[in-house]
Symmetry: C2
Subunit: 330 residues, 2 copies
């Protein structure tokens, strides 16, 4: 490993191990399972990581708890503020409630109402402002300045990325032998993918990590292909968990260096994934939660015959969107 | 306790403990969680037992594994046969696959097709015959005679009831202090309720167990009210997990003696429960899986202010039925 590579890497494997120790008091490992019907439908051998079964319904509870448990007493007293389309906000709100810390979550206008309700349910305040996630970040920064709150960025924070990395640490251990060959992950900010790459570098250098984005919100995909950072004017996808318009300081270089491949999916393909997962496993996943399976299908030529893990990374699908998906309107 | 009472009780607490030891190698405890939004919507303090997150999507995996792991070598060689509307069949098929035993599952004609597919997915053979569960039992008995298979009855077997009891053992332990005051359970054959009563008698004599049936399949409810065994001509409910038309030899006397109360729900109420659970917790439950929450609401006068556990006992809702529920057609 060269000094340059070390320089581009935002966290160490030790950071992931430390995060696991901190959050282990609050979270049991999520199941890793296989489903014969899903394998038959996809033509793949899939190991499913059940982040949809987490207490807040997504892997972001790892990030939130990793962040909150790393705060010192002064930071806990000041309280935190985050920007989110919902799952990061729930993770932070859940962690804040467990640790008795005040939390404010900034969401875009028109955000998934059931995610907003859940954030409030965990006791956090909601500020609904801006047209998308990237604009909510500006709201978060203003509130941090005005109120002295600690920023819990959903991506640009080593504690967040290390929390996300604990998922892959569990996958590698639970898969046992034969080792898992590849993991296909939805990419929003990139915490999960960079966490996975960090674990792979330390424990399983042959393990390939693939990224998946929505065609309508493909800033990271475009940037990865172009090998330079790009932004997009809009993020058009019903999968709000990955509706980002830019790359991120702490994850882009690592994604560029580490990902074995990157694909995109249309909203129609993502919706098809939600239906497929429902009928073959009876797990409810949100848009981002279906992207591992559908991304793996798109990569079938490279992944056939290999042992592939995917994450049902979130299950917080709004009922209205679910109805549209089942009625074939998405 | 009188000799008469001992005579009516089908299993001992030791049977439940033994079942837990046998199945513990294959199943981790399922989560017990609370949801602020669900509590706000119901006006209750609910602890949710997540049997919908089991590997086969229902608590019946406990029963199936308890049964299969208790078989001796000769019985394993002969193979098993079961009658089921799907979840018991999946539990038996899953356990049979893990232990390398041949399994045949008898389901009624027109049974939930996704449950049938899942049973086949775990490697069991399906025989689709008879108009409902009780007629599938006749098919099971014929196949047992003809093929020498061991009968895995979904209710009338101490190993099955003991397996179901492991759920309540986990609830009591996970709830900790203050102790859980009541558990509200959907009743099909009654294995879950009698398992719960067995655990309560041993560990928590003040813990009340309530039963819930569908109004269109209320044989056990009618019998409990009349204090004598009755059958019904039909079982009309979309909640096929509780679509039974009779009482059962091994559970009726215990239900009669032990249940603190019994209520029924219309299909419209059950469907409302599925929608409520989706929007407040983003967990997919099948009809029977919504009956604990909706039954508890019906018992609100007795349960308000107390610590109440309910089971999301199954999540294997057919996609077609889910669509009808979301479209308000159920």
């Amino acid at each position: 490993m060269t000094a340059t590579q070390v320089g581009t890497w935002p966290i160490s494997f030790t950071d992931v191990e430390s995060a696991r120790t901190r959050i282990g008091r609050y979270l049991a490992p999520s199941p890793l399972r296989s489903y014969p019907l899903l394998d038959a439908a996809t033509g793949l051998q899939l190991l499913v990581k059940h982040e949809n079964q987490q207490p807040t319904g997504s892997f972001k509870v790892r990030n939130g708890l990793s962040f909150m448990t790393a705060l010192d007493a002064d930071a806990r007293r000041r309280g935190v503020v985050a920007a989110s389309t919902g799952n990061h906000g729930q993770g932070i709100a859940y962690g804040a409630a467990l640790l008795g810390v005040s939390a404010t979550i900034c969401v875009p206008r028109g955000n998934n109402p059931e995610k907003n309700a859940a954030i409030r349910g965990w006791g956090a305040a909601i500020v609904e402002e801006g047209r998308d996630y990237d604009e909510s970040v500006l709201t978060m920064q203003r509130i941090a300045r005005d109120e002295g709150r600690v920023v819990a960025h959903s991506t640009n924070d080593p504690r967040i990325i290390a929390g996300a990395g604990t998922m892959t640490l569990e996958i590698v251990e639970q898969a046992g032998e034969p080792a898992v060959d590849a993991i296909v992950l939805a990419v929003g900010g990139g915490s999960q993918a960079v966490g996975a790459l960090t674990v792979a570098r330390a424990l399983a250098p042959d393990l390939e990590i693939y990224g998946v984005q929505a065609e309508g919100a493909a800033a990271q995909y475009d940037s990865w292909q172009a090998r330079e950072r790009r932004t997009t004017a809009r993020a058009d996808t019903f999968a709000e968990g990955v509706a980002t318009r830019s790359t991120y300081d702490l994850t882009f270089a690592a994604l560029l260096e580490g990902l074995a491949g990157f694909v995109t999916l249309t909203d129609a393909e993502i919706a098809e994934g939600v239906r497929l997962i429902l009928s073959t496993t009876h797990n409810l996943v949100e848009g981002a939660g279906a992207m591992g399976v559908m991304g793996a299908m798109k990569l079938r030529d490279r992944l056939a015959g290999r042992r592939v893990a995917v994450a049902f990374c979130g299950g917080n699908l709004d009922t209205t969107v679910l109805r549209r998906i089942l009625n074939g309107e998405l």
